[in-house]
């Protein structure tokens, strides 16, 4: 029976850059949901939100678990709101679920600083009924386990990991192989096989106890007990060595990946020169801010005056008439003074001050009366008001000042605000780059290489120890087999009963063991067939004939002429990895949605177009998280032709705040 998982809606609160409560509606089965977002806006965080919602895990770069404290929205944290939440609505096997996960600060913690200051919580409702902890655990395991989630929720980094593994099947981790087999339903047989093996032990112990009771079989039983102990001891050692070898193997792989990343010098120097440009930009902004502050200081010296200028202008307007009169009178006074002086001169010298001729008696009389009039007029006082005089003096005092520069001051202050914001954003970008660069520190490479060498030596020693323990186990089991045969020959009926039980158990073990082999073969065949079907739809190379699978689920490309393609391009690797994932989906005991983050990043337009067209074939429900230059929106609409369910865009509000906006024309459903 195939179990069907359909995602309906996701609600997130303060998760990464998604401040407050935001919502994503998934496309109905048969359709695609596309979310567009530039880098560092929250695309990968959205994938993590979906992953967290389903399996309670947040994965960072290099597959390390991300910190809970760092996952909460930073702007909300600055406002005193810590933690985050996801709520997922989905259907599984005919039931409707509402699954809420989240993390919040512990009651006694006022200001959380790290993960230990938080507690996680989970709340699950099935068909309207709240589930208890045991039911929750059981249902969650059925819906999706962390091991199988990797085939439904994946990003470019994970896809690249598959590509590397497909290229080198020896590297295929046990974890991935087990995850693949889990998704295909193999564990039900391997689990039964393991239980039958345990049952064999139980029956052997029972037989041994019975054999000890009888005189004729007592010695054999004692000998058997000693060998059981040796067998248990050897198995324990083998298990420990194998566990340790797995751990060291994974550590070795992780060190190799780390070194490969560090060795990509081009990336490191690009980051460093990006950081240098940012530093220059910041210095330029700081210099400009300092210069503007100086301008403001100078302008502020006259601010007191500009504030009062309207009042003074008002006063001037009302006094302007008076001022005009006063000035006119002043001028007339000066002119009359001048004229009086000349007339008096003329009277004294009895000659005209203008033409210098001698004055007659009548002319002298006229001049005398003019002098009297002028003398009177010069004695008149100017009807000035103290304010007018002051105003004139004020004009004189302020005439050298520029007119109000308040608009210019305002503009300068606005510029300073904008530049401060730009500086803060640039500083944050630089901090991010510093973090990135230090994670690629060269001295880290030396330590990693030395670590790798040590690990490889430890692996060699462990492998030797493992071989010895396996030899010991084999010899012990041979001895036990011999003892068993001897016990059977002796013919004790009670012992014989247990022997029959043992034979039945062994037969069942053989049947299940063989069934495991056959199931794996059949599944590999099915996966190969389905992967080939998808691959041929996705590849642009007409000479590629099929895919061939090996026992580790590694896939090779076979040319039409039957030969294996030895070297594959990055694009081909990508397509093969996608084909494997699609085939596993098809053969899985759980039919579920696929969520892909930047799946087209390194592909050419030909492959991108083919993948877009085949999306509905990859899974029933597909959600894509892409950046705008990865696929053109118009092209996507045209290519998918009516199969787009919903579209969203992740929009930037600030460096630490993004919003998920439905796009226009988003009523495809």
């Amino acid at each position: 029976m195939c179990h069907v998982l359909v995602l309906n809606k996701l609600e997130i609160e303060d998760f990464g850059p998604f401040k407050g409560v935001q919502e994503l509606a998934f496309a109905k089965p048969g359709k695609v949901c596309i979310v567009y977002g530039e880098n560092m806006r929250g695309k990968t965080t959205l994938l993590n939100a979906i992953r967290y919602a389903i399996i309670g895990q947040i994965i960072g770069r290099g597959f390390r678990d991300e910190s809970l404290h760092e996952t909460g929205n930073w702007e909300s944290a600055e406002q005193g709101k810590f933690g985050f939440r996801t709520t997922l609505w989905f259907d599984f096997d005919g039931s409707s679920f509402e699954l809420t996960r989240g993390c919040r600060p512990r009651k006694e913690v006022k200001q959380p600083e790290n993960d230990t200051d938080y507690e996680e919580y989970i709340h699950m409702v099935r068909d309207g009924r709240v589930l208890g902890p045991e039911e929750q655990k059981k249902d969650l395991r059925r819906v999706m386990s962390p091991e199988t989630a990797r085939f439904f929720l994946f990003d470019a980094e994970l896809l690249q990991q598959y590509e590397e593994l497909l290229r080198d099947p020896a590297k295929m981790g046990r974890q991935i192989r087990e995850a693949i087999e889990r998704i295909l339903g193999v564990p039900v047989l391997t689990g039964a096989r393991a239980r039958l093996r345990d049952a064999e032990r139980d029956i052997q112990q029972d037989r041994n106890k019975t054999a000890k009771k009888s005189k004729e079989t007592n010695q054999l039983a004692t000998f058997q007990t000693q060998n059981f102990e040796m067998q248990t001891q050897a198995e324990k050692e083998i298990s420990t060595y194998q566990g340790e070898l797995r751990r060291l193997g994974e550590h070795q792989q992780s060190l190799r990946r780390h070194l490969e990343r560090l060795d990509r010098l081009g990336d490191l120097s690009t980051l460093q020169s990006e950081r240098d440009s940012l530093k220059q930009e910041m210095q330029h902004l700081r210099d400009d801010l300092s210069h503007k502050a100086d301008n403001i200081r100078q302008l502020n010296a006259d601010l007191w005056l500009w504030i009062l200028e309207p009042e003074i202008e008002c006063l001037r307007d009302s006094l302007s008439a008076e001022t005009g009169d006063w000035l006119k009178h002043q001028v007339r006074l000066e002119v009359n003074k001048e004229l009086l002086g000349r007339c008096r001169e003329g009277l004294e010298s009895r000659t005209c001050s203008l033409c210098k001729t001698e004055l007659s008696d009548s002319a002298t009389e006229v001049l005398q009366s003019q002098v009297a009039e002028l003398a009177l007029s010069t004695k008149e006082t100017n009807p000035e008001s103290p304010q007018t005089e002051q105003l004139v003096r004020w004009r004189a005092a302020t005439s050298v000042r520029v007119s109000s520069q308040v608009p210019f001051l305002r503009a300068l202050l606005h510029d300073i605000e904008d530049e401060r914001i730009a500086l803060a954003e640039t500083e944050e970008k630089q901090r991010d780059l510093d973090r990135e660069i230090s994670s690629r520190d060269r001295s880290d490479a030396r330590k990693a290489r030395s670590d790798l060498e040590t690990t490889q030596k430890e692996i060699v020693v462990l492998e030797r120890s493992l071989e010895e323990s396996q030899k010991k186990l084999s010899e012990t089991e041979d001895r036990l087999k011999g003892i068993g045969q001897k016990l059977a020959r002796i013919g004790n009926p009670e012992v014989g009963f247990h022997t029959h039980r043992l034979e039945a158990c062994k037969a069942l073990h053989d049947v299940f063991n063989q069934a495991v082999v056959e199931l794996r073969d059949r599944l590999r065949g099915e996966v190969e067939k389905d992967a080939t079907k998808v691959f041929l739809k996705l590849t642009t190379e007409p000479d590629y004939g099929s895919l061939q699978i090996n026992e580790n689920y590694g896939l090779q490309i076979i040319h039409n002429d039957g030969r294996v393609i030895p070297v594959r391009s990055a694009g081909a690797e990508h397509i093969v990895a996608l084909s494997l994932i699609a085939a596993l989906q098809k053969n899985s005991s759980v039919s579920g949605p696929i969520v892909m983050d930047s799946p087209f990043g390194r592909l050419d337009s030909g492959h991108t177009d083919r993948i877009m067209r085949s999306l509905p074939d990859l899974a029933d429900q597909v959600t894509l998280l892409v950046y705008k230059s990865e696929i053109d929106r118009d092209l996507a609409i045209d290519t998918l032709r009516g199969r787009i369910g919903h579209e969203y865009e992740i929009q930037r509000v600030s460096a630490r705040h993004s919003i998920l906006l439905p796009l226009e024309g988003n009523s495809h459903e």
Binding site: A192, L196, F497, L519, L523, S589
Partner: protein
């Protein structure tokens, strides 16, 4: 899509018939049921498994007293 449950049953039936026809099909089905229904509870699963085997052995006429 391959129906893994059906395939598993089919494979088990065929392998049993070929390798160990003396083991009845119902016993194989019972082992499969135990594994499907009790994936997490080891001790209960082992107990039920041993009960199933013991019943088969008794059905064959084998008892602790040794009659066959």
């Amino acid at each position: 899509m391959m129906n893994s449950r059906k395939s598993i049953e089919e494979i088990l039936a065929r392998v049993r018939a070929t390798m160990h026809p003396e083991v009845p099909q119902h016993l194989v089905r019972e082992i499969l049921r135990i594994q499907n229904d009790i994936p997490d509870n080891d001790s209960e699963a082992r107990r039920q498994l041993l009960v199933a085997i013991d019943e088969f052995v008794k059905d064959k006429g084998v008892s602790r007293a040794g009659t066959e």
